[in-house]
Symmetry: C2
Subunit: 348 residues, 2 copies
Amino acid sequence: MTSVAVTKDEISKEENMITIKDVARLADVSISTVSRVINDSKPVSPEVRRKVLKVIEETGYKPNDVARSLVTRRSYLIGVIVNNLAQSYVADIVRGIEEIGKMYGYDILLCSSYSSKETQEKYLQLLDRKQAEGLFLVGNKFDEKIIEQATELNKPCVYFTRDVHENMNHISIDCNSAIYEMTKYLIQEGHKEIIYVSDFENRSTVEDEKISGYLKAIEDNELEFSKIYVVGGNKHNKAYELGETLIKNKGEFTAVVCSSDEIAIGIMDSFIDNGVKVPEEVSIAGFGNIREGKFVRPELTTIGEPYYDVGAVGMRMLIKMIKGDKTQQGLMELPFTLEKRKSVKTLV
Amino acid sequence: MTSVAVTKDEISKEENMITIKDVARLADVSISTVSRVINDSKPVSPEVRRKVLKVIEETGYKPNDVARSLVTRRSYLIGVIVNNLAQSYVADIVRGIEEIGKMYGYDILLCSSYSSKETQEKYLQLLDRKQAEGLFLVGNKFDEKIIEQATELNKPCVYFTRDVHENMNHISIDCNSAIYEMTKYLIQEGHKEIIYVSDFENRSTVEDEKISGYLKAIEDNELEFSKIYVVGGNKHNKAYELGETLIKNKGEFTAVVCSSDEIAIGIMDSFIDNGVKVPEEVSIAGFGNIREGKFVRPELTTIGEPYYDVGAVGMRMLIKMIKGDKTQQGLMELPFTLEKRKSVKTLV
DNA sequence: CTGAAAGCGCTTACAG
DNA sequence: CTGAAAGCGCTTACAG
């Protein structure tokens, strides 16, 4: 038999984990006292405090949040269910959520569902078991059942979505006004024949608002022409196809307002590939200010939503709700921006 | 005094939380038995199981993972510290991590540090206190101190970075070969004067490998010309500026290989804005296959790294390490792809 | 200011 | 197959 020298250090690597008990023993005080100095929850005499702090320092003791969580019934965990993390706006919202959360000691449990209802259900259960204190749902649209299940969790819940339901805490911009302003802007630039391209696949409450914003701008400015096209299905591809259809009616309009940047870029690509000059022949405007809009040539004129702020405001709202403030619930609208870039031509 | 009717339902909304104890009482068994049926950990007679399941069903009981965590010493939480969630490759890696993690019951604690060392330190502490079982660090570069602190946590740890240290578990592609292949490809397309643009700001071990890959390709193909430029600082801006410098030496080269897509796009924009035609006059190649590369015109030829797979493989490795498999540690290289698009012109 | 004790909601030997 | 008991690492009345 060979005997192997085992150093203290090696042992500690295996199953170290020093606890509050160890600290108490080493500092020759009760665990209550240790707890008090860690949390600064009750007065402790200076000498005792120093003694305890010294032991903590020496041992490198770190409180176990799981144990603390169990007794305080506070997890400081916030669930964030996103449909697609790869969308740039999602990352921005998450950043807002995270930064404000960090200020208040909350952490993010990230759950990407890729729009799968089953995955969302599983995550909802999981967040419940993990004692998440609140949750965010971010994505264009969520199934009724999911919204129902999220509500049944009886946890504070905030949505970032394009399909707004009743009793839903929701933060966004005023999409109706946004499209109204965009259409008005095009009119001011001298456009008289403006079409709107709607997103059929994701037909939602917000899409209805956008359409009515478009129509109202047309009406308020006494334009004679208005026309709504609908793209059906997977955005970029379908928008590209629709673009080819639009080319056939090229003389009909001088500008197109799109329900989303994805659609706008799809149409623009289709125009360019087919020799229709943007913005010389046709102006195009999008909605959402996705990152790609700045890389596309010409750069896309669009509506900007302050996603970071949207996330930050959402987190503030959620925290208030966690604290029991019922008044915070409801809708909330943040100011949007009109990003004037190169895809729109001035006609006057 | 007014008395308000309070229904059972309302009460349960306040401070419900039914526990294993309640289930045991209602099913008239011990909590051990309830635990056994929940976890399927030991045989339970069919009738008893049915009885317990029925109560669980009726009460909607959900086990408290925090309590379970405390006793099992398993949190099933994996910390992911990212520098910038908004970068598309990060989202892809996280997706890989998450999907494999989900298969094994692990959840992601997301920590965005925006390259702040202080934030990273705080998150490291936090992940420790939350009993995270392992962690990922994803970002171009991490400070020595951070790497040290991460190591001291004594938790399985995997990096996705461009600055590889010794004893670091790391997953990526073979960047040396990648640049070698890209340069070779340009040579095969007839280019004889090829420059390389290096990333000075993020000078890292991987950058050194890239440079030597470039030089080796030049040498292996017996080209007489080679030249390395360096961009200093914030990528897109600085690359744009460097582009203007390059234009002065336009006749010197026919192709430029860049250390990253960001640099390539910056230079390309600069060329285009200054009337230098890409790829007619100069061909450009990037590295990384960021989403923007497909939106830029001409579309950018680049090296693709399978980020999703990189994340997935990383998670697999981490899980093995959590299970105590020491052999899994070290470097791991996945195959890259050469994305041939429009920014490179064939000269032969 | 300090400590002993109870308890948070679970799991898991141990004994039967 | 089942239950009583101990214990995971903490916090927090309670008593002094």
